[in-house]
C-alpha cells in the first residue's frame, strides 16, 4: 500500500469513527431504546412472575424474588395429576375452537356480503352490526343469561359458546379486508361458472388469509381466557372452562397462588401454539401478488 493510500484510508477512518459514535449516542435513540426497554419489562414481568411463582413452594409465594430459593416441580405434578385440570382444559378447547371456527366463517361470510353485494338496507345492517360494538359486554350478560335460561342452555357447551359464535368486530374487520380484494377476481370466477358461495370460499377467502389468521387468533384468545360468562352460565364443575376451574384453587381461608399460577402457565401453551401456527399467515400478504397494480 502506498503512502498516499494509507493516508487516505486513515483519513476515511477518522471521519467515519466520530460519525459512528455520534450515531449511537443520539439522544433520541437513547430515549427511544429506554422507553422500549421499559415497555418490554412492563409487558414481560407478569409472565416472568407467573412462571416464577409456579416453581415456588406455598411459603415462598409472597417473596417477590424471581428465582425461587428452593425451586420445585411439585405444583406441576399436583395440577397435572388432578383429573379436573384435563376436564377444564378439554372444555376450554371445545369452546375456543368451536367459537373460533364459527366466528371466522360467519364473520367473513357477513363481511363479504356487506362488502361485495348491493342490496337494499345494506348500510342499515352494517351500522346496526357496528353499533353493537358500543355496548359493553357487562350490559349484555343479563339478556344473554335470560336467553340461556329461556332456551335451556344453562350448563351446556352451547350456552357458553353462543354469544361468541359471530362477532361484530370480526364482521367489521373482514368487511374492511374484503375491500382490498379486487372485484375482477370475483368477476373472473363468475364468468368461469362458479356460484356465489364457491366464489367466496375458493377465491375470496384464500386472498384474505392474513385477516382470517388475525381474527382466528383474537377470537381464540378471547374465548380461551373468557371468565365472566362461562362462570355465570355454568354451575356444573364438569363444564367449567380452564379460567373458571382455576378459581377453585382458592378456598375460603386461602388462595393457592402457586397452583393457580401453574395452571395459568399450562393454559398459555395452546395460545402460544395458535399464535405460532397463524402468525406466519398474517405476515404473508398474498392479495396483491396476482395483480398488476
Amino acid at each position: 500500500m502506498s503512502q498516499t493510500e494509507i493516508k487516505a484510508s486513515s483519513a476515511t477512518l477518522d471521519r467515519a469513527a466520530p460519525y459512528a459514535f455520534k450515531k449511537t449516542m443520539k439522544p433520541s435513540t437513547i430515549i427511544r431504546w429506554t422507553l422500549l426497554f421499559m415497555g418490554g419489562i412492563l409487558m414481560i414481568m407478569p409472565i416472568v412472575y407467573l412462571l416464577s411463582t409456579s416453581f415456588k413452594w406455598s411459603h415462598e409465594i409472597y417473596n417477590l424474588q424471581i428465582i425461587p430459593d428452593e425451586p420445585t416441580l411439585d405444583n406441576y405434578s399436583f395440577v397435572l395429576e388432578d383429573g379436573r385440570f384435563y376436564n377444564w382444559f378439554f372444555n376450554s378447547l371445545i369452546v375456543a375452537v368451536s367459537t373460533t371456527v364459527s366466528a371466522v366463517i360467519f364473520d367473513s361470510l357477513v363481511g363479504y356480503t356487506l362488502c361485495k353485494f348491493k342490496f337494499k338496507g345494506k348500510t342499515f345492517v352494517f351500522i346496526a352490526i357496528l353499533s353493537t360494538l358500543m355496548i359493553p359486554t357487562e350490559m349484555l350478560i343479563i339478556p344473554w343469561y335470560t336467553m340461556a335460561v329461556e332456551f335451556g342452555w344453562i350448563n351446556s357447551y352451547w350456552g357458553i359458546m353462543f354469544p361468541g359464535m359471530m362477532t361484530a368486530f370480526g364482521t367489521f374487520l373482514m368487511k374492511q379486508f374484503f375491500e382490498s380484494v379486487p372485484d375482477e377476481f370475483l368477476e373472473a370466477a363468475r364468468i368461469d361458472g362458479l356460484n356465489e358461495f364457491q366464489i367466496w370460499w375458493s377465491v375470496a377467502m384464500p386472498m384474505v388469509t392474513p385477516a382470517l389468521s388475525a381474527l382466528a387468533i383474537f377470537i381464540f384468545l378471547g374465548n380461551w381466557t373468557a371468565f365472566i360468562w362461562p362462570l355465570i352460565v355454568t354451575n356444573d364443575p364438569q363444564l367449567y372452562t380452564l379460567p373458571v376451574g382455576l378459581t377453585t384453587f382458592s378456598v375460603e381461608q386461602s388462595v393457592e397462588w402457586e397452583l393457580i399460577m401453574t395452571g395459568a402457565a399450562l393454559a398459555t401453551i395452546p395460545t402460544l401454539i395458535v399464535f405460532l401456527v397463524f402468525q406466519r399467515y398474517i405476515i404473508r400478504g398474498v392479495v396483491m401478488t396476482g395483480l398488476k397494480g
Binding site: 375482477e184 373472473a188 392479495v287
Partner: protein
C-alpha cells in the same frame, strides 16, 4: 365461435345514461376493437356483453341466443381483465384449469386440455409456478390461457395490455394477433390505445360519450374519418385541424391565408384537417400551403416532428429524422390536395 349482435343497447346508472343505443354486428370469427377515451362506454359495453352488468334496454345476441337474461357462465364467453385477475394462491396449472372445474370433462381430459393450452402459449415449463414467480407478460399469458381453456364462443379482452411496458406490449400484441389467426374465435377487445386498435383489429369501433362514432376497418377510419373526433383520435400525432370559412374557390383560414381547395358543400364554416405525415417541406415549384416558424422539434429517430407556428395556429409536420429545420427557422409546408380532409365546423361531420 359465434357472431355478436347489439341492438339499441343502453345502460343507465340511476338517472345517468352512459350508453345511448349501441347498434353493432360483429361477424363470426372477427376481431373487433372498441377504442375511445376514458369514460366513452367501451368497457361498460364489454361488461354488458359479459353479463357482469345488467342491460337497461336493448338486446344482446351471442350466436342465435338473446343473452340479456343469462348469467355470465351461461353465455359461453371468456374474459381477460386489465389486471389479469389470476388467483395468487393457485399455481399456473390450477389457474388455467380453474374454468374447467364446472365442466363435465374427466380429470385426465382436463389435464390434457391444460397441457394443450400451455403449449400453445409456450408456458409448459411454468405450469407449477405461482403467479408471484411470473413476469407481467407471463401473467397476462396465464390469464389468456384461462380464457382459452374453456374453448368459448367469444373472447372479451378488457384493456389487457395496459399494464405492460412498451416492449412487452408490442410483443403481446403480436401474440394475441397470431392467436386469433390460429384459433379464429370471435374477439372483442377494448383499449384506449389507438395503435393497438389499428394493429389488431379487423374492424374498429370508435366510441365517445356513450355513442359509436364510426365502425370500419383500420384503413377506413384512418383514411375516411366520419367526423373531427375520429380524425383526431385515430393517428399519432393527431390530425392538424384548422378552422376556416368558404370563400370563393377556397377556404380562408385568416385575413391573408387562403387554401385553394374546397369541399362539395355549401356549409360556410369549414375546418380543414391534414395529417402530420401528409405535410412536407415545400420545394421549388411546390404550392405553399402554410408558412411559419419552427417552435419545437421532437426527434423520433428515423423521423422528427416539427411544430410550426403559423401565427394564427400551430401545425405539426413529420419530417426526415436527420435533415430537418432548426427551432426558429422559417419553413414553408405543402401537401397533396387529396390528403386534405374537410369538416363542418359546427357539427364536426366530415364533408366528402
Amino acid at each position: 365461435m359465434a357472431n355478436v349482435i347489439l341492438k339499441k343497447l343502453t345502460k343507465a346508472y340511476g338517472k345517468t345514461e352512459v350508453l345511448h343505443g349501441i347498434d353493432l354486428d360483429v361477424k363470426d370469427g372477427e376481431f373487433v376493437v372498441f377504442v375511445g377515451p376514458s369514460g366513452c362506454g367501451k368497457s361498460t359495453t364489454l361488461r354488458l356483453l359479459a353479463g357482469l352488468e345488467e342491460v337497461t334496454s336493448g338486446e344482446i345476441y351471442i350466436g342465435d341466443n338473446m343473452v340479456n337474461n343469462l348469467e355470465p357462465k351461461e353465455r359461453n364467453i371468456a374474459m381477460v381483465f386489465q389486471n389479469y385477475a389470476i388467483y395468487p394462491h393457485m399455481s399456473v396449472r390450477k389457474n388455467i384449469g380453474f374454468g374447467l372445474r364446472t365442466s363435465k370433462l374427466s380429470k385426465a381430459d382436463r389435464e390434457k386440455r391444460i397441457d394443450e393450452v400451455a403449449e400453445i402459449l409456450s408456458m409448459t415449463d411454468l405450469l407449477e409456478r405461482r403467479p408471484s414467480q411470473l413476469s407481467g407478460g407471463q401473467r397476462q399469458r396465464v390469464a389468456i390461457g384461462r380464457a382459452m381453456v374453456r374453448d368459448p364462443s367469444v373472447f372479451l379482452f378488457d384493456e389487457p395490455l395496459s399494464n405492460l411496458d412498451a416492449q412487452l406490449r408490442t410483443q403481446m400484441r403480436l401474440e394475441i394477433k397470431k392467436l386469433h389467426q390460429d384459433i379464429g374465435t370471435t374477439i372483442i377487445f377494448v383499449t384506449h390505445d389507438q395503435v393497438e386498435a389499428m394493429t389488431l383489429a379487423d374492424r374498429i369501433v370508435i366510441m365517445k360519450d356513450g355513442h359509436i362514432q364510426q365502425v370500419g376497418t383500420p384503413n377506413e377510419v384512418y383514411q375516411t374519418p366520419k367526423n373531427m373526433f375520429v380524425a383526431q383520435f385515430i393517428g399519432a400525432p393527431s390530425m392538424n385541424m384548422l378552422a376556416g370559412q368558404l370563400d370563393g374557390d377556397g377556404i380562408k383560414l385568416n385575413q391573408s391565408v387562403k387554401i385553394l381547395a374546397r369541399p362539395k358543400s355549401d356549409t360556410k364554416d369549414v375546418s380543414i384537417g391534414i395529417r402530420p405525415n401528409a405535410l412536407r417541406i415545400a420545394e421549388e415549384g411546390d404550392e405553399v400551403l402554410f408558412e411559419g416558424t419552427v417552435s419545437i422539434i421532437e426527434p423520433l429517430g428515423a423521423e422528427a416532428l416539427i411544430y410550426v407556428n403559423l401565427g394564427y395556429a400551430e401545425v405539426i409536420a413529420t419530417v426526415h429524422g436527420y435533415v430537418h429545420p432548426k427551432p426558429g427557422e422559417k419553413v414553408k409546408l405543402t401537401a397533396v390536395k387529396e390528403e386534405i380532409h374537410f369538416f363542418d365546423s359546427h357539427s364536426g361531420d366530415a364533408i366528402y
